[in-house]
């Protein structure tokens, strides 16, 4: 199956002669296009998820579907392979099914809009954007059911479908889709906003093509792709040794009793090409934690991570894909067989960044970071408020950015580009809950020469009876430290019931009943530490203690003894540091807080939760 693009003008494309300055001008113009897409979406979207948290990603691709601007790589190729039909000027395509677009989006709540851009009768580009919808129907509010075993339980599946045909909205189809979700009006608005953003981008592409000429625009996009190719060729030589390096990390559990799931990656270079082989990754899970990973998306992660270190001004794109070979075993956690459930993919998706850091870092230890907030944990709270109206809250959790060569990790921040928290006053004004505490947890960041950022403690007091669901991870395995830095503190979820009882909730659960007056303490994890904590300036540790980001006791992890007046007790510190240095065990490059067997053995005692069984 391949889609056919219908052009009314069959004039063949020619390569234009484009001077370097024009390339830079068009590059600037395309950069503006992407920013404008974000701006249009944020201002018109309705759901807090897109609007406040920025859970959405824009893209412009050339006519061949190569991403010229964007973040997550091109979705076009997978779509073109999966869609069997004609595509004409004025068509706008909507889909959300990972299995129908080669995992361009990786779970059903991400709705993606694709717009083919035409000028003078010829197809010149694509604009596209996806955003996380508040609800997609299915088993649970928010549509991320943990216990789902197939994608059929995760709500409506939209195969690549023309939402607009030659500029005309297919209202029946839209209403059919919206009829299947719990938050019809939010989705309607958010979808409108995605369409408006893509249309804006299309308009801008046409303006650029009109200004410089279609051929110049086309050739320029190719030059931009080539620039990335050449830059990445150099970067791969610097970063990826021919000798294979191996790293593994874990998703702690699958919510139905199995875990941890291993993600294994071996990296090496053959000539110009970097190879990432995920052989050894555990088989797919029975529940919804599978992450169907698009190979090209991984290439993008790898590229944007490394190029940031060299030319942050570059407009990053797809041009270098031929230099990276990604191999993922079929049937594994990262490439499950249809119809495996996918909605809870966020943990494995996030963990990929830790895996990539770990495998790349072995070749370039000077540039490596500790394990970070490689996830976006969710809390759902839904029910009927005191006026009898349905409400549905979706909150993303934030945590500790790791210690890095650049310095300490920020506290309670996001790993994802553009993500922000929803203001608590907004939540309290619109949902029946009170946020009693919203504060980074002292000492939760791993100790290090550069400390890991602290995780965040959010205390939710529920003001009406309802249901909650939680999707979280790193409750069992640690956010590891590097180069002598300690691991960060793990996540916990504890609920204090209005009746005085207390419960420790598992990291992944749904359908948990809460009563008015119950308080949930959702504590996220800290980032790993970077470098030997005994080498951190003792005065800086004392300053951290005065600021309350490290406790007095916690200062001892750095071998620092704080006197009663808050200053460093120099004598005691020297003594403690000498003792700790003498007894410090060399853990190598990574400090993981023990082997999986050791961690599992301590599970009940330390986490109040039973260890999962090996998958």
């Amino acid at each position: 199956m391949t889609a056919q693009i219908i052009e009314t003008n069959s004039m063949p494309w020619e390569t234009a002669d484009v001077d370097a300055v024009t390339v830079d001008i068009i590059e600037n113009a395309l950069r503006n296009v992407r920013e404008e897409m974000d701006a249009v979406l944020f201002r018109t979207a309705m759901s807090p998820g897109i609007r406040e948290q920025g859970d959405c990603f824009p893209m412009v691709a050339n006519k061949d579907g190569k991403m010229v601007v964007g973040q997550f790589g091109s979705f076009i190729h997978g779509f073109m392979e999966a869609y069997d039909g004609d595509i004409e000027e004025g068509d706008i395509i909507l889909t959300n099914d990972p299995y129908m677009c080669n995992a361009a989006v990786s779970h059903l709540p991400d709705w993606i809009v694709l717009v083919p851009v035409f000028n003078n009768g010829r197809h010149i580009a694509w604009s596209a954007m996806f955003g996380h919808m508040s609800d997609n129907g299915g088993m649970v509010p928010g549509s991320i059911p943990i216990k789902a075993e197939t994608i059929y339980q995760e709500g409506i599946r939209i195969p690549p479908t023309k939402l607009y045909k030659k500029g005309v909205l297919q209202e029946d189809i839209l209403e059919l889709i919206l009829h299947n979700v719990r938050t019809t009006e939010w989705n309607r608005f958010d979808l409108n906003a995605l369409v408006a953003a893509c249309r804006t981008a299309s308009k801008r592409c046409v303006e650029i093509a009109e200004r410089f000429g279609d051929e110049v625009f086309q050739t320029t996009m190719q030059i931009m792709l080539d620039r990335n190719l050449e830059a990445m060729r150099a970067i791969i030589q610097m970063f990826v040794p021919e000798e294979p390096s191996y790293f593994e990390d874990f998703v702690c559990d699958d919510g139905v009793g199995k875990g941890p799931y291993k993600i294994a990656c071996t990296m090496w270079r053959e000539g110009d090409v970097a190879i990432f082989d995920f052989e050894g990754t555990d088989p797919q899970a029975k529940s919804s934690i599978n992450f169907y990973m698009n190979e090209e998306m991984f290439k993008m992660f790898f590229g944007s991570f490394t190029i940031n270190l060299f030319d942050p001004h570059i407009l990053f794109n797809d041009g270098f894909y031929e230099l990276v070979d990604v191999r993922i075993p079929q049937g594994s956690l990262l490439k499950p067989n249809f119809p495996a459930a996918l909605s809870g993919r966020t943990h494995a998706l996030g963990r990929i960044f830790d895996v990539m850091g770990g495998v790349l870092g072995q070749g370039a230890p000077d540039a490596m970071n500790a394990a970070g907030f490689s996830d976006s944990p969710h809390l759902f709270y839904s029910g009927y408020d005191k006026k009898g109206e349905w409400f549905q809250l979706f909150q993303i959790g934030f945590g500790g950015i790791p210690g890095r060569p650049a310095g300490d990790g920020p506290d309670g921040h996001s790993l994802w580009p553009g993500f922000t928290n929803v203001p608590n006053e907004f939540i309290e004004a619109y949902f029946p809950l009170r946020i009693v505490k919203y504060e980074p947890i002292a000492d939760s960041g791993g100790a290090g020469l550069h400390r890991g950022g602290n995780g965040l403690s959010v205390a939710y007091e529920f003001l009406v009876d309802g249901d909650i669901a939680i999707h979280d991870d790193r409750w069992l395995t640690y956010p590891w430290g590097v180069r002598g830095g300690d691991p960060g503190m793990r996540s916990t979820k504890r609920i204090e019931r209005a009746d005085g009882t207390e419960e420790w909730l598992p990291a992944k659960c749904d359908g948990v009943k809460v009563k008015e007056g119950d308080v949930l303490y959702f504590n996220t994890w800290g980032g790993g530490g970077w470098g030997n904590p005994l080498e951190r300036d003792a005065d800086l540790v004392a300053f951290d203690a005065r600021r309350g980001v490290v406790s007095s006791d916690g200062a001892q992890r750095y071998g620092v003894v704080i006197a009663a007046d808050g200053s460093v007790d120099t004598g005691a510190t020297e003594k403690l540091r000498a003792e700790m240095a003498a007894s410090k065990v060399d853990t190598g490059l990574f400090s993981r807080g023990g082997t999986i067997e050791e961690i599992k053995a301590r599970s009940m005692e330390e986490t109040h939760l039973p260890a999962p069984e090996a998958p």
């Binding site: 001008i25 944007s304 950015i401 790993l415 993500f419």
Partner: protein, 689 residues
């Protein structure tokens, strides 16, 4: 005869404009700024301008002042040490900063946070809680607070105090209670509370705004007090000092000292006000302003003679909830450095700038890197063979050498590289213009484009070609336009509150009642400054959106409209504008978020300023030099004219260069500049070329 004085203090120069209020006669002076104490420069300038014009300083009744003292405190991070009191559980609101990491994917790898303006070691919690509905959840524990405040005071470090409690935008009672306790402990430092400074939802933004207010308050207050007393000494006790706010209105010296967070964009607002003044009189109500300086460029959109006001102000990486003229700033200007990254071989201009020191290579003050200014010299736009008004010597050889280094790195010719730099920087400027126009749903071709600032008149003709905004206008005194703006605006204050109500749940009467309360509150500061009620004009605004949206529009509304049409006057207009901006409207679920009363004092300026006279000049009399410049891969012969000698109606055909005291206007081939009746240069394409 009474006079008013506009004063703009910039980084390098202090510009002054003295206006005879009854005749409109103006006098101008430019003196070096004195950054260690700007008031010295201001007083020097007053001496100079009064001497030169032979006017008795005691005749100056009003001094209207645009100042960057607040801006600089933020930019240089040299503000006060701020103590902060938050609700228990929210001590680290600023530390978390909405969890945002700038940059794209992997941006966190290199992101380091700037130190907080209210450091955590000086932040304490108050045990209290207000609900989102304005009801008290738990009362303030004043005893514990007193104890903690004493400990905070004992550090001896706090120079200004901020109080920001959760949900205080609905009910500020707890904040006031905390302030009462704090005033017992901190008797001699300013205390800012968020429900006074910005009673709007969103705890991080409100805390940051109030903290920034505290951060700049001691400096601004000292500056204003000193300036006021020296002015009184020189100009008489009855002199009135007013300071330009970010939103383009003037505040009394007293109001400015209390809410200095409103002064962060005082400088750029002056330029916009000046541009509006001359363009309105020239008959142009819809304009895009383009203020290009050495390190940055400010652009804004003016429709129907009114600047768009944005509900936030941004200074470098600090964003606060204070109203400002919707000026977008980009980090590119005449001093921006061009470079070629090794891996990608792209041509990049900025964001690094040569600044005033070492400056562009052409200025021979030690700078060697190629800047936009050097490219302008190489291209002949900034003539090196004639002495400029500013008496700055320009060395073409030095500029050539700098640009040649870049040409070599790219493997292209010198002139191509110079033209490349100018084109790239013009493209970034176009991006800024698009931000305020196309992205807001406006077509730049419906606007005139006004260029000013040190480098604006050099680039604005090219920007006209790129944006399609005609005519291109260079107002009189483009280098001192801010002082014109300062001198021609009115005293203004406003009161606002977060309202958050579904339109279907309220009536027009409810709204009018609330607006009346706000009008009285805004009028209070006028009463305090002795401005009578009959000298005040009021305008009402409602910020409206579809319930749940982040986007909102400030719509103007009058009591008469509300009486006649009810709330539909707001919802219909919102739907119309939403459709214009985003191609769709929802038509229901409207929500009023914030309401506001803006009160202005009526102006005492009765005459128009006179900046040009005479009739069309014989161009030969205005020529000061013959030269040539490079444009679109070719050299063009051009004359250099002296602007002062161009009378009303004179037409200057491009290619030409028009020179004045501190500014150079470039008229490109195929274009012509006409002097209009107020002295603006109007540049238009010549038909048939």
């Amino acid at each position: 005869m009474t006079f008013r004085l506009g004063v703009d203090v910039g980084g390098t120069f202090t510009d002054l404009l003295l206006v005879d209020e009854s005749s409109g006669q103006t006098y101008m002076a430019k003196v070096p700024s004195t950054p260690e104490d700007s008031s010295i420069g201001v007083l020097d300038g007053i001496d100079r301008i009064c001497n030169e014009s032979d006017i008795d300083p005691k005749q100056v009744a009003q001094v209207m002042h645009g100042t960057t003292v607040a801006t600089n405190a933020v930019l240089t991070r040299k503000g006060a040490k701020v103590g902060l009191i938050t609700t228990k559980g929210y001590r680290q609101t600023l530390q978390v900063a909405r969890s945002f990491c700038p940059g794209g994917l992997g941006g966190w790898v290199s992101y380091n946070k700037a130190p907080l303006m209210a450091p955590l070691e000086l932040t304490i919690e108050a045990d209290e809680r207000m609900g989102a509905d304005g009801e008290v959840v738990s009362p303030l524990d004043a005893d514990t607070l007193l104890h903690d405040l004493k400990a905070l005071a004992a550090t001896g470090e706090v120079e200004a105090l901020t109080i920001c409690l959760l949900n205080s935008y609905v009910n500020g009672a707890h904040e006031r209670a905390v302030r009462d306790v704090a005033e017992k402990v901190f008797t001699d430092i300013p205390i800012s509370i968020s429900s006074d400074v910005v009673p709007e939802m969103q705890e991080y933004e409100r805390t940051e705004t109030t903290v920034v207010n505290s951060y700049v308050r001691p400096q601004v207050s000292k500056y204003v007090t000193n300036l006021k007393s020296s002015l009184e000494e020189r100009l008489g006790d009855d002199v009135n000092l007013a300071i330009l706010r970010s939103d383009g209105g003037l505040a009394s010296a007293r109001a400015a000292a209390e809410s200095p967070v409103n002064m962060l964009m005082s400088g750029p607002a002056g330029g916009v006000a000046g541009a509006m003044y001359f363009c309105k009189r020239g008959g142009f109500e819809n304009i895009l302003t383009f203020d290009m300086g050495g390190t940055s460029t400010d652009v804004a959109l003016i429709q129907h003679g009114e600047a768009r006001i944005r509900r936030e102000t941004r200074v470098s990486d600090i964003t606060v909830r204070a109203p400002s003229v919707d000026v977008r700033t980009i980090g590119a200007g005449g001093g921006s450095i061009a470079f070629v990254p090794e891996l990608t071989k792209a041509l990049r201009v900025g964001p690094d700038s040569a600044g005033a020191d070492p400056g562009p290579a052409a200025y021979m003050k030690g700078g060697e890197a190629p800047t936009v200014c050097d490219a302008n010299v190489v291209l002949g736009y900034l003539p090196s063979d004639v002495k400029l008004g500013g008496a700055m010597t320009i060395n073409r050889d030095a500029a050539e050498k700098a640009v040649q280094s870049l040409a070599d790195a790219m493997g292209i010719e010198l002139m191509a590289a110079a033209e490349g730099i100018v084109k790239i920087v013009n493209e970034s400027m176009l991006g800024a213009l698009r931000l305020v126009s196309v992205e807001q749903g406006y077509d730049p071709r419906d606007f005139a484009l006004v260029g000013f600032g040190g480098a604006g008149p050099l680039h604005v003709n090219a920007l006209g070609i790129l944006s399609g905004a005609w005519p291109v206008i260079v107002p009189p005194g483009p280098g001192v336009l801010c002082a014109y703006g300062d001198a021609t605006t009115q005293i203004q204050d406003e009161a606002s509150k977060t309202y958050v109500a579904k339109v279907e749940d309220i009536s027009a009467d409810d709204l009018m009642k609330e607006l009346g309360v706000l009008r009285d509150r805004a009028g209070e500061s006028f009463a305090a400054d002795g401005i009578a009620a009959d000298q005040q004009e009021v305008a009402y605004q409602a910020d409206i959106r579809y319930a749940g949206q982040a986007f909102q529009l400030s719509l103007n509304v009058t009591n008469e409209e509300l009486k006649a049409k009810g709330l539909a006057v707001l919802t219909d207009e919102f739907d119309r504008q939403h459709e214009q901006l985003f191609t769709f409207a929802h038509g229901k679920d409207h929500e009023i978020v914030i309401i506001r009363a803006v009160v202005k004092a009526k102006s005492s300026l009765t005459a128009d300023l006179k900046e040009v006279s005479g009739s069309a000049t014989d161009l030969k009399d205005a020529v000061i030099h013959e030269t040539r410049f490079f444009y679109e891969q070719d050299w063009h012969d051009a004359s250099i004219y002296e602007r002062e000698k161009l009378g009303v109606g004179t037409v200057v055909d491009g290619p030409a260069i028009i020179q004045e005291m501190d500014s150079t206007t470039l008229v490109l081939p195929g274009h012509a500049a006409t002097v209009d009746k107020v002295g603006n240069l109007l540049i238009n394409p010549v038909k048939g070329v």
